[in-house]
């Protein structure tokens, strides 16, 4: 057992962990932070993505002891006092989730992506979330959500590169005929 001190979603924890314990298991099993989930055993799916000192990591590839002294943010810690994080809101608005299993990881990865690239193109979003698998959505609405959140995070009005029409596509699909 090794003693670690971490701050998770703003709360400090001192805990004994087995050296081999993965961060994701520490979060889920020891802290009850079950918003972060496990989808694979090969670090391919990204379902377990959290922020470690502000950077997106797959928490199944990080040992809990490596988080000693670090600041971890999970999906449970990103909403502010004034409500949901813009990325959470955008996933909801753009229907960027179905079963929702990939969603926490997808949101965490996307926040980091937008931090690196505040105005990503569709192709840049697609490439940026390549490490996160979603089986339900076909990604299109996730891409919309990330770009819409990016616009929001730049400050509304900003450069406004997510045109309202584009954003609204989800709300008014193209209905081309009527019986």
């Amino acid at each position: 057992m090794t003693r670690i001190s971490v701050r998770v979603d703003g709360t400090s924890y001192d805990d004994d962990v087995e050296p081999r314990t993965l961060l994701v298991h520490y979060l889920r099993e020891q802290l009850g932070k079950v918003g972060t989930v496990v989808g694979c055993d090969t670090s391919n799916c990204g379902a377990c993505t959290v922020h470690l000192d502000g950077e997106a990591v797959k928490s199944c590839t990080v040992l809990a002891v490596q988080a000693d002294g670090a600041e971890v943010t999970t999906i449970e810690g990103i909403a502010g006092d004034d409500g949901l994080h813009p990325m959470q809101k955008a996933f909801h608005e753009m229907h960027g989730l179905q079963c929702g299993y990939c969603t926490p990881g997808m949101i965490m990865a996307s926040i980091d992506l937008v931090k690196e690239n505040p105005e990503p193109s569709e192709a840049e979003v697609r490439e940026g979330i390549e490490g996160n698998l979603c089986r339900c959505t076909g990604y299109q609405n996730i891409v919309r959500a990330v770009r819409s959140a990016a616009a929001e995070m730049r400050g509304s009005g900003g450069n406004g590169h997510v045109a309202p029409a584009e954003v609204d596509t989800a709300a008014a699909p193209h209905v081309v005929g009527q019986a």
């Binding site: 079963c99 390549e130 990604y139 699909p173 081309v176 005929g177």
Partner: protein, 824 residues
Amino acid sequence: MTAVEDRAATDAPTPEIGKARRRKEDARLITGETTWTDNMVLPGMLHLAVVRSPAAHARITNLDVSAVREAPGVIAVFTGRDLAEEQGSIPCAWPVTPDMVNPGHPSIAVDQVNHVGEAVAVIVARSKVAAQDAVELADVDYEPLPVVLDMEEAVRDGADLVHDHLESNTSYHFVFDAGEMGTGGDTEQAFADADVVVSRRLIQQRLIPAFMEPRSVVVQPQGDNYTMWSATQIPHILRVMASMVTGIPEHKLRVVAPDVGGGFGGKLQVNPEEILCLLIARRLGKPVKWTETRSESLMTAHHGRDQIQYVDIAADRDGSIKGLRVRLLADMGAYLRLITPGVPALGAFMYPGIYKIPAYHFECDGVFTNKVPTDAYRGAGRPEATFAIERIMDELAVELDMDPLELRRKNWINADEFPFTTVAGLAYDSGDYETATQQALELLGYDELRAEQRRRRESNDPVQLGIGISTFTEMCGLAPSRVLGSLSFGAGGWEHASIRMLPTGKVEVVTGSTPHGQGHETAWSQLVADSLGVPFEDVEVLHGDTAISSRGLDTYGSRSLVVGGSAVVKAADKVIAKARKIAAHLLEASEDDLEFSGGKFSVRGTPGTGLGIQEIALAIFAAHDYPEGIEPSIDADATFDPENFSFPHGTHLCAMEVDTETGFVKIRKYACVDDVGTIVNPLIVEGQVHGGLAQGIAQALYEEAIYDADGNLTTGTFVDYLVPSANDLPHFDTGNTVHSAPGNPIGAKGVGEAGCIASTPAVVNAALDAVRHLGVTDIRMPLTPERVWRALHGGGDGGDRVAEGSNAYGGARTTESGYEEAEQ
């Protein structure tokens, strides 16, 4: 206009139906406040890990678990022998022929294993880690038996047997002959009379549903009562089946499907591990949990597709189709699971597609091999059928030197011919293939792309362009119980709903249709808001717990809205009928003088006044004043059993670039127009289409479950089994036409499978269209760069040589430019 549209149009100020409501269920899913089964922690809970066979076919000659017992944290170990008496057999609910052979399917092997990954022992420990550590300590000796993997070999005389107590590897032989059934003419004669016959052998590779949430089961015993939480699509069916298998009386077993992270048919199953959890919890009297790893999931949760299709089509020179003949070999794997044998039989009815075909003969062998069983996977039988007919239509067009679209037009059912009874005996309800096709062509920009294709061809561009067409229909809304009975399916096709009016006027809707990402809570709230005239926010939808929703047939086959939603609407009608009596009493009016509008009963001619249905709920709770002979309740239950399937249809078009030098393919543009009947929530409909497209395209381009010659699954992780990422998929341009289904009060047709069914042939047809002039007549799925390259440069379909490799895709990814070399 359907009943609901009617009400919506006249009553509610802004009808909910048709509104792109953001989903109610998102709130918990985007904040991590979800209840996945694996989140469950119960006091004293023990953890299971499964010792699995590394051999595909072997006798267990020695199984020593004494070292496991001694391992730290281990509480107990169970082998197949320990549980032999009580474990029963994993049920198969679809004996498609009376003489179908079912070898039985133990949850845990007793003497012999028949596929890699089969359970041979179960370890119970205080922690998951301890259980998993101890797996290594099991000492098992296997005496190898010949491994049967190839279906064509398996059905030859004298083939090695998967089950040596059986006479052959054939489970059943299912035949549908339209001539004999009286739904069509003599197929042999039709072929003899036709000008041309085109034949193909098509391969539906084995796929893995690969839901993102691994399967997880928790069982809590309390005396002789059991609660099972499971990441399942089918809590109601599971309860019945688990009760029959384990002997736990049904009323002592509660099954809960909490939040479920995707299914795609892969969780439409009674899993061996669910039964093992029940048996072990009963033995130990303690709560137990099992959550699979991803590799366990890929190896042991059922697979889909895996068919060899021999397809012949006969036509006259002018393009009129004379007959269709299909012979299938369908891989059952080693055992029959819940609906394993039914999947190809369900497909049997869809091979004629949207065409007027005068004669049709279908036959299918269900074949045992030493692989994990196949079963339902998104579309179940219909994607396979659609692929075959849409591929062979293109081949016929080539043979006749006709435009593939013109050939389709010449043969498809015209809008004024609905309802239309097909040669397979199905009565297609409504539609307009021409309009959907026109719209899709516009969305794609067909003419410009055809012009570009010509230019590239003429200039011998190394990157060629092709356009693939797939026009399709499917049978949804499973289904009329009587029809399912005639197909020997072991259950009905009805669905159940209750509406409970709470005293404060809030509404609880209980549905038997258990979602796993389809947004029932939102769509059902919309239905009830319009029906009862109550605010969307005042409706709560409850599901997925047999203690709350006592009856149901769950979610699969795009049946939820069509059947389950219709049950909700029916229940709402009953609530209104009951409330009308109370309202008449309280308003001292005659029932006939009351009109119900916007959630209010008022005496005709005095709109705006009267009594709201939510007020009636409180009045009837107090029950101080209600008419004689009436029960003090306006709650209602309803069951809906449709008269017919529903038949969504659509046209999907794919424009694809093929790099003839590297074999890389890239979808340039994808457009589709689907008719799914009435659209309750356009947001959800669009999302379902996107997800389906991703899965269908993945079959065409990326995914294949591959076994090596020894029967090891070489695509046993997400490194090798390529679920596409955002970067592997294109943007989709989608649209809808709307022809309401006449068979249900909503007018919905079902949308969950459309994208998956239609896209695979569109993509493959596009690739072939790009390179056909270079002598390529077929390419086996998935269209990996190597297969495409070999088809271009080596002749053939590029198939077999690649299939021998361990990784069909060689680790390569399509880059933005599309043509990156394989990494290995």
